[in-house]
Subunit: 388 residues, 4 copies
């Protein structure tokens, strides 16, 4: 007697806002490469032992698409990342089918210059794109993840209208996409420091949505270090007097963050972790410099002046040299999987248990990495036993 055909594996969508950027392209190429066994899952926390049997969607079941305002084809973007040393030579062609498939699932975002559509019209348009993506792919669900360039802080300022009434309030683009995610019934993750769902006008809609969401601002380098070094100083009762930092990066992010407003958004997260883990804010500034010559590679120097016993003056310095997109991409995949599973399990509201991934986590998250990791592993335990 022939075996009954197994039920077709449900597929899960990952809708990337900024789908043609370096991070998104690395997510798309990398997801295919790891799923095909071409590369180990280095940097993907959800592929380690504590996350086995949690019901996370397999990498091979993820379907990728998204919005972007530029139209450079993904395969071309991928080759540019090869030239920049972000992706290994030959990898884009090895997974060309998947990259081309994702390219077909990218829709034009906005608002573009000269765009006269109201916020309500934009939100509805974006939501329709996402709903079509889900329907077209026969997806069980899709998670919307913001990986677009950082917006200036100023854009999130005074907004007096109401999304519900569509009165043209001037929401920042990141918030328009977030509103569209809610309207399309999709979980939402904000991997950038942009406003996204953190807008007063979206608060009620988020609460009422019954959807899980998480953010914000992926923790990939300097802040990751700070979240383990800050607790170390605190636990050892050493008195940090000044914590200064400089970041050098090229790529799109360097240029975006050269805007003082955008840098302010990013730096707020970097300093929050120090205040939270040290108990008070030390002296010191953080600089973000756009250095195009570095391409997608970034260098972060931190100088920490601290006092030891009897006032002795000591210093720790750290230098972190990493590839921004390669640091971010596996975390984006982690977050998409975890949030999709949370949705399946019926969870809603903010997910502070994902604070491990963020500079500016949802309220209720601890600030020290070790505690964030413990919370994440605990969350995996809940998912393991949750409804499927």
């Amino acid at each position: 007697m022939p075996a009954e055909p197994s039920a077709p594996r449900p597929r899960t969508g990952v809708w990337l806002v900024g789908a043609r950027g370096s991070v998104a392209t690395t997510v798309i190429v990398g997801c295919a490469a790891v799923a095909a066994g071409l590369h180990p899952a280095t940097g993907m926390v959800t592929e380690t032992a504590p996350f086995a049997d949690c019901g996370l969607p397999p990498l091979a079941s993820l379907v990728l698409g998204g919005h972007d305002t530029v139209d450079c084809p993904l395969p071309k973007r991928a080759e540019a990342l090869v030239a920049g040393g972000v992706l290994p030579h030959g990898l884009p062609s090895a997974v060309h089918g998947e990259v081309a498939a994702a390219d077909r699932e990218i829709r034009t975002g906005g608002p573009l210059p000269g765009d006269t559509r109201s916020d309500e019209e934009l939100i509805e348009s974006f939501a329709a794109d996402i709903r079509d993506f889900v329907r077209r792919g026969g997806l069980a669900r899709a998670v919307v993840v913001n990986v677009a360039s950082t917006e200036p802080v100023a854009m999130a300022s005074v907004a007096t209208g109401s999304v519900a009434t569509g009165s043209g309030s001037g929401l920042p683009a990141s918030s328009l996409y977030a509103a569209a995610a809610l309207r399309a019934g999709c979980p939402y993750v904000n991997f950038t420091p942009s406003t996204g769902l953190h807008h007063p006008l979206l608060r009620a809609a988020a609460s009422a949505s019954g959807l899980p969401y998480a953010g914000r601002d992926g923790k990939t380098g300097q802040t990751l270090l700070r979240s383990v070094l800050g607790p170390m100083f605190a636990q050892r009762a050493l008195a940090v007097r000044a914590w200064s930092g400089t970041n050098l990066l090229g790529g799109g992010d360097g240029a975006a963050l050269a805007d003082p407003g955008a840098a302010a958004a990013k730096n707020a997260g970097k300093e929050r972790v120090l205040t939270d883990t040290l108990g008070s804010a030390p002296e010191g500034e953080v600089h973000i410099d756009d250095v195009p010559a570095l391409g997608d590679w970034k260098t972060a120097w931190d100088h920490i002046a601290f006092d030891g016993f009897l006032g002795s003056r000591m210093v720790l310095q750290t230098i972190w040299q990493g590839c921004d997109s390669a640091l971010a991409a596996p975390l984006v995949l982690d977050l998409a999987r975890l949030t999709a599973r949370a949705h399946e399990a019926g969870l809603s509201g903010p997910l502070p248990e994902l604070g491990f991934y963020f500079k500016d986590p949802d309220p209720g998250s601890p600030s020290a990495l070790a505690e964030q990791y413990a919370a994440l592993v605990g969350f995996a335990g809940r998912l393991r036993t949750a409804a499927r």
Copy 2:
């Protein structure tokens, strides 16, 4: 009716092996300075909130003494540390009474060159010194803490005799002192990588003693960092390929560790934390250079080559510049207080809960600093409710 006179506060002894060294001198000066309110308790974990009300002996109740084989008076040693920038100018004279009192409690250690006494005779002599110290001071108890220069590994080699029978087995000096502590009924802490109680011939005596003990090798700089950075890489699923390090230090410790045998003892601890937290040993070596020009200040450079997503090559470097004695001294005071309280509470055997302080903790201790800290705070909770 006059109040009844309160019972005199019991006093606790701290017997320092290597009592005229830089660490011991900083312990003695610093204990007096903090007790007198001249300096904050920076670096002393036991003075932070989680350790309140645990019944730890107050700093003002500690009585300091110890063994040493050199006879430079402590006040002179203290002035040398002022000249070297370890102690603040004027502090030794501000606590001159306490320093002079400790100086009077130092006895000649051994074995000195040409010393013909057997191991048994040396142990008995050392134990008598400790017993006299306790009796003379009317102390409730004394903790013996090894802060002497690191012994070469070779000295801990083949030993076939038996301490019980006093057959002249050639125990290393650190083990003679440890045996003396047991014989005098004192808890023992080994702050150095020397053998101490970790000698096969002492195993039975340690077990039978009913005393608490802890060790070994205080974690003051590079290994402290490794114990937070190792877990960070592991938790983020980043693949550490090579972890290389160089330590520059002058002072006595630099010279002692220039001996390849002594360095081997120290480096074993440094590498253990990597293997334990990363799951396997990465490539890379550790160097310890004697650089007399640096005096008591040490610099540790670490270079960590790791792979991220899709094989991208990244690097973290750390540079730690600290004062060895100022890093060690508050931890020595912490350990003396915690171990004395453990003795009072009736605890015996190894104290893996103190692994927070050590490069090479007692079996049962976790390796990551955050978990070690949690274990330490848990231990404080046990002490809070334990018998006094």
Copy 3:
């Protein structure tokens, strides 16, 4: 027959603008300490072999005084520098006589807040102070050296009056002192990035004065390094793509340079050396952060991204940790001696041969340190044979 009494040694004045600042205090204490043989002349280039027999005034023949707008006594300032680790303990009291003597030679500078004197009145008042100093001490000559805090660039802006007519042109304070030096017939050295003699209104007077002068902006750390590393890259035909830097410093200078205008003045010098030695300006920014916790100690981090053969990407990083005043003071003494001797030798106008000492040297100076050193040694040769 008794030897004829030797002619009394002529004495040379050093008039410090900013005479109570950290640099000036270190100059005054250090000059006395080295003259008395209490310390070697570390950092003083004029005490090395190539400068012997050049007729430079001996340190013991220097008489120190100056202007300042604050009135904290020098001995107290010196003790503050001891506390900050800049001066060795005990040194101020060992040279108390000389420090007190210099303190008596300090006059109130200006303009102070609310000061209604015209530029002309201020210049005349300052010049009178300097003339009195020379007369009182029976000095052969005095050199005026600006070591005051850096002025904002803006202060040096549009000035349409004329110093000659005293029409209240709003000269920056540094230029008022420079004009006073000219009027008092004294050589002038500008050790800061402030305007000083580089003001259009002073150009004619400087030319007509027949006095030697030199500047500007002492090269003590990051720029010193740049002036040897820039030429290295150029000589090796390596292509520097980006040169980024961050400076952390406390003390008065940190606060002064936190002012963006003052920082701009300083950074112009730092970048000039790169453009001059590399042939074009690389990418990259320079930050100057005020970190009060560092006191008089400064840390400069430089990150240099360069291309090698076949486009390979390489990086050099440097970290300079020094004491600002201790770096500056011996150079100030060098400059005072060299300029005094130049005056004695009848030289006039700018001294590009002293470009070795400056971030922004006089026209005609090479930019690479090695060539500047060769020019300086050549200058010493000229002085050796010049009139006395």
Copy 4:
């Protein structure tokens, strides 16, 4: 009337000892790439302005060949260097013709294990290979350049025989090749710290040869930096107390230098530059660690503790991250061209004017890079006017 055909351009051979190593492969690929205009001549000093019109052989006229003891084909070696990030992707195939041509000009070196030939037989065999190379290519001349892995120091030890008599003295391999160069009438350059021509038994033959030669040990990273920083400290009269360094490198060189004997050879050069430029040897050690994970990339950390004015303690640290082969290859091409031209110009004996390129230059070379550069430019001037 038609123009007379120009005389065919004479061609110059470059015979690489270690012709299949990373450096040689980069030389061969890079020479072709730059000659074809595919890459700028970054890192080639002889392509800068001061070397124009000196009569150096054009890159396009160089013919490459050499000895090696392994037989991995050059195109395959080149692909391995692409994978390691040393060569740009696609470059080996773009210059495949030239690489294959060089591959055909490589002969088996020696002595191989089990080789029973006497030194004399080996020298004669190597010389015959070189003579054949010159004859086959119709070359005007060939320069022999040693770019093989570093030999242990011990191999250069007691040698009592005589090359002239061929008595089987046990010359190190590098000296056998050097002797073969002399015998074949070829100028010789030693880019490694191996003995080469620096062998007592070769002294007379070198003198009598009438050939120019230069060495030894290419200065590509840490020592390059030391040769500019050492003079800076000396010129500024700063007192260097300790200069410590650690080098991490993989590739063949890392493994070769893990041999303490080989490291000793290399370190001698590194320390010489300090002693020469500072006037005395500071404290401090140099480590060379084999870290295979780094491949052909090397990291050198230097820590320089120095005293400033009044004994203030300061520190400079440098971190150099470069690609060893990409740093070496353009210098090898420079040296081959300069030495070939020197030969054409009739120069003989050591060429201390090439000290710019070496850790351990020929006697008569200055130690500071700036002076070495001046000497090199002066040498170019001599070549410009020399016979062709």
